[in-house]
């Protein structure tokens, strides 16, 4: 009999070439040894499933889910259980849809020490927490490529801050929060020369370091880079802060303890064990206070969006405080963890730390209590760069014999169960904390990365649904050419067995996601921006104040929008060579009364989309002589099509006086 892996339900399905040969073979063998499973296993009666996810027209979803957009650089907001997409929040990429990163007010949010970066790769959304429970104030997300962390305000669902991380590269183990959002962490996935310098790549072991950053979050939400810990040149993959008894600690997984700099798929997979690095941030604070830090150079941007001016400003900082673990006893311990661990997840009690060894079949679960005991009894197994390595057996709480292959991430419910994704064997496995016994397993379609349970990485999971975030969809949807969507799969986990309810496509690659009950976010969601409190320096609060001002070659147009006209809508006296700044203010104060603005031939820029009470600025450099229309892009009202105007551009030599009007015959 052909030993085709049954979990890959359609014969055409082949994920194998994506993986190293050896691993794939192991996966095939293991998968084929599994009990026979059809692609429908785990799905309940279709009608029942449909009823469970059906949110009737006009009714609301139970949860908000925030999914990372991966290489789209954005965050998408979905409803659960329906899987309906509500909004894309632009974060690290320009968004022509609403002018984010195109309007003068938002451009600074994409500023870095490299200049303006219009794109990034966003991986892990993380909700702010109070007492270890998601509180609905902010959502953080990391930029992996040019290391940054962003903060999104969950009253407006807008990005309000981005902070760059110096001395870091591949900001992957980020942005996980401590129990009361004291800190957001940002660990480097790629070790680099620290500080950056021109050295041979093969001097890796000598010159490359891995830096773990701690960003302080003020009660206002403002982020400041507090300090960095300079670690050995490993790849710091993921992180999670402790909670409850372990709340003073943050755990980072690392792979490439081999310190390879080429062909990592082989060279970083040689050692039997890599590490979980446990960092005591309370100790770090104390060392900083004692002055035991070094000042390391590094330029970084902190871009803050001021909600009263509706304008972002960039603050440039120099230098950062760094701690060297060898000089700071008790700051860091390394726990050996099998086979290139990926996710590190802390259970709701804060005692169990799960290391998901991605090239392994088993999960290693460490005990915080045992770890503390091992530290006290100095049960060390050598050290790395002055960092004590704890004995594996002395910290191990248990091993989950999963029967799957390629564990990546674990989340928890509120009934003492844990759920782990297995990339290679393409499944979610449910197991019990304490007994380490597998309780259930369901296939996913295909190859899940992260999974998410609302509150599933907090002290209080709302253990009703589980979302598996799949990297590969193959034959699951109507094909759209070679580039296919990625997908989320919703499971009901309220019973003993997981039940597959729904597949839905995602925007970009959803790495991680977070979800929170709608009852927390919905009541605090803003409906409008207050025009009375609009302190944008270019605001035009009434039509009477609308005007056009020339200052040398710069033209400032103070323009208002209200259903269904602009003031002014006829502008003359602009000359080729001028730069025009359209400062639009939406005078509406009615919920969902948005207006847009676009002008012909706007090189380098997109449109503006203005919510009620907002002011935004669009730069326009006229390219030709003529009369150019501008119009409202958002179908605002019955007379939206009439919401238009003209701007006349004259040759430099022409004598055309500056004038503006609306409604003048």
């Amino acid at each position: 009999m052909h030993m085709k892996p049954i979990i890959f339900s359609r014969p055409t399905t082949q994920v194998i070439p994506l993986l190293p040969g050896i691993i794939a073979m192991a996966g095939l063998l293991l998968a084929s040894c599994q009990a026979r499973r059809s692609s429908e296993a785990g799905a309940i009666n279709a009608q029942e499933a449909a009823q469970r996810v059906y949110v009737a027209p006009g009714k609301y979803d139970e949860f908000y889910a925030f999914m990372s957009g991966g290489y789209s650089g954005q965050v998408s907001v979905y409803g659960l259980p329906s899987g309906r997409l509500f909004k894309i929040i632009p974060v690290f990429s320009q968004n022509p849809e609403n002018g984010y990163g195109y309007s003068e007010e938002t451009k600074p949010l994409l500023m870095t020490s490299y200049g303006f970066i219009p794109w990034d790769d966003a991986h892990h959304p993380e909700l702010s927490q109070t007492n270890g429970v998601p509180d609905g104030r902010w959502l953080f997300i990391n930029a992996n490529n040019t290391p940054r962390v962003a903060r999104i305000d969950l009253k407006t669902f807008e990005t309000v801050e981005t902070i760059e991380i110096p001395n870091s590269a591949g900001n992957h183990s980020s942005p996980f929060v401590t129990e009361n959002t004291e800190y957001v962490v940002a660990g480097t996935r790629f070790s680099v020369p620290t500080p950056q310098q021109d050295v041979p790549i093969d001097s890796y072991k000598k010159n490359f370091k891995g830096v773990l950053s701690f960003i302080k979050v003020e009660p206002s939400g403002d982020m400041d880079l507090a300090f960095q810990v300079v670690m050995p040149g490993f790849d710091y993959d993921l992180a999670h802060a402790g909670k409850g008894k372990s709340k003073d600690w943050v755990f980072f997984t690392c792979y490439n303890s081999e310190e390879a700099h080429t062909l990592l798929e082989v060279n970083a997979s040689q050692k039997d064990k890599d590490f979980v690095a446990a960092i005591n941030w309370k100790k770090a604070e104390a060392y900083i206070q004692q002055g035991k830090y070094h000042q390391m150079p590094g330029t970084y941007y902190d871009n803050r969006f001021d909600t009263s001016t509706q304008t972002a400003r960039s603050f440039v900082h120099q230098g950062v405080k760094v701690l060297i673990p060898a000089e700071c006893p008790g700051l860091v311990y390394l726990i050996p963890a099998p086979k290139s661990p990926h996710g590190v997840d802390v259970d709701p009690s804060g005692n169990y730390i799960v290391a998901n060894g991605k090239l392994n079949a088993d999960l290693s679960v460490f005990s915080f209590d045992k770890m503390q005991q091992a530290i006290q009894q100095k049960q060390f197994d050598g050290e790395v760069n002055g960092i004590p390595v704890l004995k594996f057996d002395a910290t191990l709480a248990g091993i989950v014999k999963s029967g799957g292959l390629g564990p990546l991430h674990t989340e928890f419910d509120d009934k003492g169960n844990a759920y782990t994704t297995f990339f290679i064997s393409s499944e979610v496995v449910k197991w019990k904390l304490g007994t380490w016994q597998v309780e259930d397993r369901q296939p996913t379609f295909y190859s899940p990365g992260h999974l998410m349970i609302p509150g599933g990485d907090s002290r209080k999971p709302w253990g009703k649904y589980l979302v598996a975030l799949n990297k590969i969809t193959k034959d699951r949807y109507l094909p759209t050419g070679p580039e296919l969507c990625q997908s989320a799969q919703l499971f009901d986990i309220s019973g003993d067995k997981m039940k597959l309810l729904l597949d839905f496509p995602t925007v970009g690659e959803p790495h991680y996601a977070q979800a929170i009950p709608a009852s927390i976010l919905m009541p605090q969601s803003d409906k409008i921006y207050s025009l009375a409190n609009n302190r944008n320096p270019y605001v035009t609060k009434t039509e009477k104040e609308a005007r056009v001002v020339r200052n040398g070659r710069r033209i400032d147009v103070y323009m208002t929008e209200i259903r269904s006209h602009f003031v002014p809508d006829n502008i003359e006296g602009i000359h080729l060579g001028d730069t025009v700044y359209f400062h639009l203010t939406n005078l509406e104060q009615d919920w969902d009364a948005a207006h847009g603005f676009a002008v012909e031939g706007n090189r380098d820029n997109a449109e503006l989309l203005l919510m009620p009470g907002q002011t935004k600025t669009l730069k326009w450099v006229p390219q030709r002589v003529g009369v150019f229309p501008f119009y409202c892009t958002d179908f605002c009202s019955a007379l939206h099509q009439e919401m238009q105007g003209y701007i006349r551009v004259s040759a430099p030599a022409e004598q055309v006086a500056l004038s503006w009007s609306t409604g003048k015959e």
């Binding site: 259903r563 104060q589 009364a593 007379l639």
Partner: protein
Amino acid sequence: MKTLRHIMAPGKKGIAHVFMLGAVISSVFIYFFPLWKITLYAPQYPQGIRMYIWIHKITGDDAYTLQNINILNHYVGMKDIDPHAVPELHYFPYALAGIIFLGIMAWLMKKRWMYLAWAFVYALLSVMAIYDFYRWEYDYGHHLDPKAPIKVPGMAYQPPLIGVKHLLNFTAISLPEWAAGFMLVSIILGFAAFICCRSTSVKEQINHHDLLPADSSQASVVLHH
């Protein structure tokens, strides 16, 4: 009526006095509550928008409701609802103050005819105020800008005085609010004060005096009759 009389038997004058006091206090409440509410529903306003007419101002669900209603109204050429342009909102509070003052006088003087006169004038003014409100509604609904973007021949946009009316995409519901209730209560109490005195014959009053120590104002009323 017999029972009522029975209840009122011990000191009908005193009860009329209390009624009159109640009428005055109830009138004071008018300042603190809206008189009338107009609710508009439309497909774009599933939760409705509400406009409140007070003795001295016009408000909405929030600070922006009037602007939002005006934006909608301008499509059909209706004038802006501008509270500053409604003189009644300036002098009605004084008119009410005058009524309250007269009410206090009537209450102090305990003259039965004053109760009647007060309630009658109050009722008359209230009816006139409602008519005035109707005139405003009529004016807003009928005097439309000839250059309005949307013109529906024969269509007027006068909201109902009381009740429900469909106006293009809007359903307008107009109903009295708390302050109108207080006004009504004041007037009823004023009349009640008058009626409850009228039901007292001189003879009964005198008999009554035998039972209770008379006070001078009661005596004076007796003399008048």
